[in-house]
Structure formats: C-alpha cells, structure tokens
C-alpha cells in the first residue's frame, strides 16, 4: 500500500508579536502513523499540535487534513480530537458521561452512545468504572478516561499533548506501551507531543524533532538516534560524545579531521578548514586498540568515574592529549573497571557521524 497522506502542514508559521513559535513548518503524516513531536520546552511543539487541533490559527501557511484545508476551521468541525496534558475531564460527570459527551453533542441517542462509550471504556481497560466520578480515579485512570473520551468520536487524527507528563515513571512506561497497542489496534493516526526522548523513541513510527519552532530533524527513531542530521539532534537524543575538530583534508567522501584525539579519518563531506563535530554514542566506544582499518583509534583514557546503571556501567573518562578531553563510554555490568584505570579506546568508523556546525 502506498503511503496515504492524511495530514500535511505546508509552510506553517505562527508568530506571537516578535516571538516565532512555529517557523515555516512542513510535515506530512500518513494514515495510521504514530508521529511524535519531540523537543525541549518552549520549542514550539505544542503550538504546532494546537494548530493541528484548531485551537491556534497559523499566521501563515496551510494545514490540510484528509484532503481538506482546515487551516482556520474551528476544533469542533475538524476530524481531530485533542487529549490534553491535564486530561481536561469534566469533573462533575461520571466516567461514562465523560466518554459519551462527544456523542451526545452529535445527538446520538442515549442507548447507542452509552453502548459505544462502554466499548471505549473497555478498550482502555477500565471495564466497570463507568459509574465512577472523576475524583475517585488515579492519574493513570484519568489518562485512560481522556483517551476513551477522545476515541469515542472516532477522530481521524488523535492529538496528544504531553499526555503522560503527569504520571510517575512506572505507569508512564506502561501507558507508552498501551498507547502504541491502542494506536495499532485502532489503526488510528496519533500525533503525540513530548519532551522525553526515551518516550519518543519507544513509541514513535516517526519523530519530528522541534527546536526554535523549526523541524530540526525528521525520521524514524533509530535513524535520528544513530545518524542525527544536526548537532542539536545529536545532543538531544540521549548521551553523546561530540568531538570537536577542524577538517584538514576532504577527499573522495573521506575527511581527515584534526581533533584533541589526534587525526581521525571518517566518511562524510565537509569543507576543508571548516569546524565540525564527530558524534559517537557511549555504547559505540569500545575498549582495546583498533585492530583493523575500520577502527578509529581514540588513544588512551583515564577513567574518572564509574556509574553502575544495571544493564551497563557508564564510565566518565579523560582522554586525548594530556587527558584533557572528556569522553563517556559503556562497559558490561560485570566489567572490573574502576576510577583511575587507564584504558585504550577505539570506535568503528561506520558508527562515527560527521556533523557540520
């Protein structure tokens, strides 16, 4: 099946006075896709979501949903429903009344809407909670009610504004898995906003990384993590070693870079004399001397601190000339490394990502 585009944002810009919250955003979302808008707070990701939902009208640009220009259509008239960060449940109504509210507004007869609402309550795993008041529910349960209320009206696109932000870690992880499960089983299109890159990576089909109102990087989570397009993306997506350097030679898609670890040769394109960064994730740095020509030697490192993290030990070390450059790497949890040890480090050339400043 060819990619069926459900939502497209074309050159969408939103200005508040002198502040540009969204700057020429272009995005397309396929039917059945789980897109995550990821970015630090104040990056404009919520503004973008709010424009999709119809709560904010763009200063310029176009929003098309299901072939229809909805740029200025009010929320009630577009095929989207938003799940708010604080759930925005109606506190004076029972769970059942909350979930059937949208159907009541569509004048669906009482019996039919309660039946449909019960189904949605079952879908989110709250069977038997229909008569409860909102105040009697925990945060996670309220979250489920908000989801049920949204899916009851069968929106083409479900917009989720940091819906897991208020939950504690364990329930958060559980809800992430359930969200993905729900989305796949409904075959629905979800757009989810979060500032948590781990959450984004674990639930997204595609991530749009937002910074300063712009789409900084867009693609599947593994691609963004392993081969980020920009320095910001590299920094935002988890721990990273970013090695500064100056390009000495540029030859046949190979660059020789002068860094504090000496001269490193990696693949990529950059102008001679320009400043670049080389990205290596902590788990991509290996102990031992580079053995073959694919290896990039990082010289010796003096371990400063070892942090046990269950699945691995994270080592902070000084490396490079006179041990002045910081480097982070992981070793297996049973490794005997301690602070003060001196180790040889290397990485594999294909892992290294060249990032132009």
């Amino acid at each position: 099946m060819k990619n069926d585009i459900l939502v497209s944002l074309k050159g969408v810009t939103k200005k508040y006075g002198n502040v540009t919250a969204a700057d020429n955003v272009n995005l397309t979302i396929s039917r059945g896709e789980f897109l995550v808008l990821l970015g630090p707070s104040g990056s404009g990701k919520t503004t973008i979501l709010s424009m999709m939902g119809g709560f904010t009208v763009p200063t310029s640009g176009q929003i098309i949903i299901d072939g229809e220009d909805v740029t200025e259509t009010p929320p009630a008239l577009r095929p989207t429903v938003t799940v708010f960060q604080d759930y925005a449940l109606f506190p004076h109504m029972s769970v059942l009344e909350n979930v059937s509210f949208g159907l009541a507004m569509q004048k669906v007869p009482k019996a039919a809407r309660y039946k449909r609402a019960e189904e949605c309550i079952d879908t989110v795993g709250l069977t038997g909670y229909g008569d409860r008041g909102i105040h009697q529910l925990s945060g996670g349960q309220r979250q489920r009610v908000a989801l049920a209320r949204a899916i009851a009206v069968e929106p083409a696109v479900l917009l989720l504004d940091e819906p897991l932000g208020a939950l504690d870690l364990k329930i958060r992880r559980q809800m992430q898995a359930e969200l993905v499960h729900l989305q796949k089983s409904l075959g629905a299109t979800f757009v989810h906003v979060t500032h948590d890159q781990e959450e984004a990576m674990s639930i997204a089909d595609n991530i749009a990384l937002i910074n300063n109102g712009k789409v900084e990087d867009y693609g599947p989570p593994d691609r963004i993590y392993l081969r980020p397009a920009t320095l910001f993306a590299a920094n935002f997506m988890g721990d990273s070693n970013l090695i500064e350097g100056t390009v000495l030679n540029n030859d046949n898609n190979q660059v020789e870079v002068d860094t504090s670890f000496g001269k490193l040769t990696i693949s990529g394109e950059a102008k001679q004399g320009s400043n670049i960064h080389i990205l290596l994730r902590p788990e991509q740095i290996r102990i031992g001397v580079a053995s073959n020509k694919k290896g990039v030697s990082l010289g010796e490192a003096k371990v400063r601190e070892v942090v046990f993290q269950g699945t691995h030990k994270l080592c902070h070390a000084y490396s490079g000339k006179q041990f002045k450059s910081k480097i982070m790497f992981r070793v297996s949890p049973d490794h005997s490394v301690v602070a003060g040890d001196i180790l040889s480090l290397h990485a594999l050339e294909p892992d290294a990502v060249l990032l132009r400043d």
Partner: protein, 257 residues
C-alpha cells in the same frame, strides 16, 4: 510557658481589635431586644416586642423582599455573565471592568441618577438594580476570572473539540466547573447589595430597600425597631457569607480528592 508569655500581648491586641470591630454590632443587636422605647442604656431586659413591630410593618417587609429579589437575581446574572470565556480579553478591558471598584458609590449613584434621567428610566427598584450591577460586576468578575485558570480553559477547549456549541459548553460544562466561584460571587454580591445604602437611596422612590427604610426610620426618631431591622440585615449578611464560605470550601476540597 515561654510561648504563652510571648503570645499574650498579641492575644490582647487581637481581642482589642475584635472588640473595636464587633462592639457596635453587639450593642446594636443587644438593644434590638430592648424592653422599652429607647435603644439606650440601661438595658431593661430582653423582649421581642420590636421584632414583632418590625414584622408588622408591611412597608419594611416589602422592602426586605425587594432587596432579596434585586440582589439574588442580579448577583446571579452578573456572576454568570462574567463566567463566560474571557481569556483573550486584553488587559485594558480587564482594567475597565475592575475600575468601578475604585469609584465611590456616591459618585456612581449620582452618575447613574443623571444618566438614567437622560435615558428616561425613572427612579425605581429597577434603577437600583442597574446601580447594583455596576458596583458588583467588578467583584464578580475578579472572583470568577481568578478561578478561570488554564485547567478550566482546557476543559472548555475539550468540550468544544468534542463538538459542543458555545451555549452547550457553557450550560453542560463551564457552569458546573465554575460552581464554587459562581456561588461565592453570588453570595458576595447578594451581601453587598443587601447592605448598600447610597445607590439604593438615590435611585429608589416608592419601592425602597431595607437600608433606605432604616434610614427613614432613623430620621423619624431612634427606636429599638431600627436596631431590630439592623440586626436582621446583619444576620442575613453573616449567614450568607458563612454559607458561601462553607459551600466553597466543601466544593473545592471535594475537587482535590
């Protein structure tokens, strides 16, 4: 022991302040039960004579009902009107809504008297009602606006998102969510209108409110009937305020659970 010593001056000070505030009220209430023609010491022993006389005074009772009608109805309307979605109002509009708070009731009353005269609305209970809306609106607005936070706005947005019209959102959702502050502003405006004298005096002619009656009674001479009427005004105000406080705290604590 030491805390007790340190706290004693503070406690005495508190008692003095409370006495200063409440002594006149206590005296007023006490002498409404005076068994004699004058509300002055000595206190001749308790009697309900003056209450009997007051409730026999038809004009007074009629005015009392008038007051309640004006204040409850308009207090509610003023509060309800302001419960609407106002978040995108500019600061300037908020300022102009609040500004009447700083203007003396006398000035508002005279202004209304002149304006209503030009418009052709004669002095009446209706005119008093307009005056009371003018003075109560800023307070109702302030109370309700302060309750209308981001959470309420999201609830409002959620209702619209699910297809509710303006009217449906207001009726089915916002009026319920805002119940504590609607009730609080209703009670507050009811109490303020109940006690209000200057505007009621300037804008009413035949169907007057209770404070105006009391003023007239005072002009014809001091009797414990005035005290009885005053006590009634005080008792109703206090009851309303206490009812408001209890209800609001019950509603808001219920919300937190």
């Amino acid at each position: 022991m030491r805390t007790w010593v340190r706290n004693t001056p503070a406690a005495i000070y508190l008692l003095v302040v409370l006495a200063f505030i409440y002594l006149p009220v206590v005296v007023l209430v006490l002498f409404s039960f005076q068994d004699g023609p004058l509300p002055v010491p000595p206190f001749n022993g308790p009697s309900l004579h003056w209450y009997e006389k007051m409730f026999g005074n038809e004009r007074l009772i009629a005015s009392l009902i008038n007051s309640v009608v004006v204040t409850t109805f308009l207090g509610f309307l003023a509060a309800y009107g302001m419960a609407r979605r106002t978040p995108r109002f500019a600061g300037g509009i908020r300022f102009s809504l609040m500004a009447p708070l700083t203007v003396s009731y006398l000035i508002i009353g005279i202004g209304l008297l002149i304006t209503l005269n030009i418009v052709g609305i004669s002095k009446s209970l209706f005119a008093v009602g307009i005056g009371h809306v003018v003075i109560n609106l800023p307070l109702c607005f302030a109370i309700i606006y302060s309750q209308f936070g981001d959470h309420t706005r999201n609830i409002d947005d959620a209702a619209r998102d699910l297809g509710a019209s303006d009217f449906q959102t207001l009726l089915h959702v916002i009026a319920h969510v805002m119940k504590p502050s609607l009730f609080a502003s209703f009670c507050l405006s009811a109490t303020l209108s109940w006690d209000e004298f200057i505007i009621a005096f300037l804008l009413s002619r035949f169907d007057v409110t209770l404070p105006v009656i009391i003023f007239e009674m005072l002009r014809s001479g001091l009797t414990p009937e005035v005290n009885a009427a005053g006590t009634l005004v005080f008792a109703i105000s206090v009851t309303t305020v206490i009812a408001a406080a209890i209800t609001v705290s019950a509603l808001t604590s219920g919300r937190k659970k």
